[in-house]
Symmetry: D2
Subunit: 184 residues, 4 copies
Amino acid sequence: MSLLPNSTTGDIVVLVGHPSTGSRTGAVGRAVAAQLGDEPGHSLRVVELAELGTGPLGEDGVAVQEAEELVRGAGLLVVATPVFKAGYPGILKLFLDRLEPTALEPVVAVPVILTASSAHGALADLQLRVVLQAVGALLPVPSFVLEEHHLDDLPQYVDAWQGRFGTAARAVVRALDAERVSAR
Amino acid sequence: MSLLPNSTTGDIVVLVGHPSTGSRTGAVGRAVAAQLGDEPGHSLRVVELAELGTGPLGEDGVAVQEAEELVRGAGLLVVATPVFKAGYPGILKLFLDRLEPTALEPVVAVPVILTASSAHGALADLQLRVVLQAVGALLPVPSFVLEEHHLDDLPQYVDAWQGRFGTAARAVVRALDAERVSAR
Amino acid sequence: MSLLPNSTTGDIVVLVGHPSTGSRTGAVGRAVAAQLGDEPGHSLRVVELAELGTGPLGEDGVAVQEAEELVRGAGLLVVATPVFKAGYPGILKLFLDRLEPTALEPVVAVPVILTASSAHGALADLQLRVVLQAVGALLPVPSFVLEEHHLDDLPQYVDAWQGRFGTAARAVVRALDAERVSAR
Amino acid sequence: MSLLPNSTTGDIVVLVGHPSTGSRTGAVGRAVAAQLGDEPGHSLRVVELAELGTGPLGEDGVAVQEAEELVRGAGLLVVATPVFKAGYPGILKLFLDRLEPTALEPVVAVPVILTASSAHGALADLQLRVVLQAVGALLPVPSFVLEEHHLDDLPQYVDAWQGRFGTAARAVVRALDAERVSAR
């Protein structure tokens, strides 16, 4: 599976940490990411961890390596996750465990969490942010945490979140990008 | 005093959440568990998640089901884990994700954490306790958190922890066991 | 103000960490504590931090010292708190800041949290447990966390929590008490 | 480049959450803040909670109100705190408890934590960020957490932190400021 030929640094990548494909979690992640791009029609690149084959993530299959490269090269990484047992799923941690502590240093990450319980959502959010920071990601804005019973009103929730945090998120992406360019 | 005579339910089980077999983490878990049993020679049952075959844990291979039954039936469950990226490994969460929210309701759990960084150990501990509680486990005492550079003095650290918390941990195991017996 | 003349070690003490007296938080704390006692009519001792005078807690007024002695000598300490800004109130931390890291080593603590938001309640719970553990308290059971809109059904919620955790909490209190007696 | 010319709104404010004046915590906070300003000689405004009089913070003395206004109007707020009992001090929470949930919505906050224990520092950091977010502050970069035994090398630690996170922090301050200006 070829994920992202001709990938450039700085794309928006949605990492879907759900063990099943076609999840509502992935749809929410894409909805948030679509609004975070500056330009209309900005294409998103999506990594569905559930599609990375039947082997464990720990095995270095080609698909996993490609996914990892995509995530490392993201300008903005939306990490979309459901909540299992007051945390994010094991499949997502399995993927993050592959990364060294500085792997995501140039990456701005925005967690997107879909949860049935607002208490468990808050706890999962806390955990995911700790771990993303431990692989070097910068998390400049609060996560987008949505309770499942609000799914029908997803666009309004995304708009409200963007209205408050979109400017800050984009400002950091641009500033880090400019820093990278000037460092070359 | 016999903690759990003639009972498969109620044994001490060590769940080793390390992706490799033969880990120091597993050895530390066994050392803590050995002292938590009342009787000399009390046999421990050990589940090494790394030994559960090459398939992902999500697949219902026989080994995984057996491991799950053992964990559900434990009187005292020592959950031994290293720290990866300021959290516990994905392989451990993958296993816990299989359990329903009440799966470990009769189980007393004691996390055992081996870490290179005391800050990351504290954060991983917080996360593991949240998730174990979300599958119903009771965590009556603080986790045994050991920094790797103290491994040579493991026995003294285990003794000190036991001296402070062993009584409480055993009291809860016995009280819950008595409650189970009287409920039959 | 004489708080507790003739206090014996091992009493149930309710520490109410609300800046106002007569709070619903205090009432919930008393309701949980009343059921945790073994004997009918077991008297509770209540420390209302809001009653400790107009000076800051940091000043060593007599009332504060008495309150501190009561808390240190508790067999079971119910720490009742509202949730302010996703945490427990400053007045409660001000009181805990007075204690040395081993101050509550012989004390079994049960947090009781009344919250408008279940997400903020979960986060405040996490924080309070971290800090209580840092002053030596043992927290053998999950906190009693109640959302305000369930206040009318308080008795049922207390019963359900007691049914699941009362045995374990009391077992630890008794075991530690026995340990203290045998250590004399 | 001028971060915030001719503006009381938008200044860099250091909020020192230590119960004593003249703390090393305050000095560390000032050192971090001094580098976050763009211009040499950019003046910092410092709020020492320990200086707000002898009454409890809950009383609306003039000094407390002035401090609150300064914090609300900050463009960049450095919140400097020691670690007491694995958390930040009660005096700091007492101050934050006064604020409504949206009080700091236009404010970029950077926690600065001085700790004897790296584990307790990590836990206090987690708690402080949760609470600052609950009063509306934006926390775009990881906190500056310093262990006390590194105090002699403070400048190098500040430089390293600035090198990694200064660009992002300033980018968010400027973007939010521009947004405010265009909203007028």
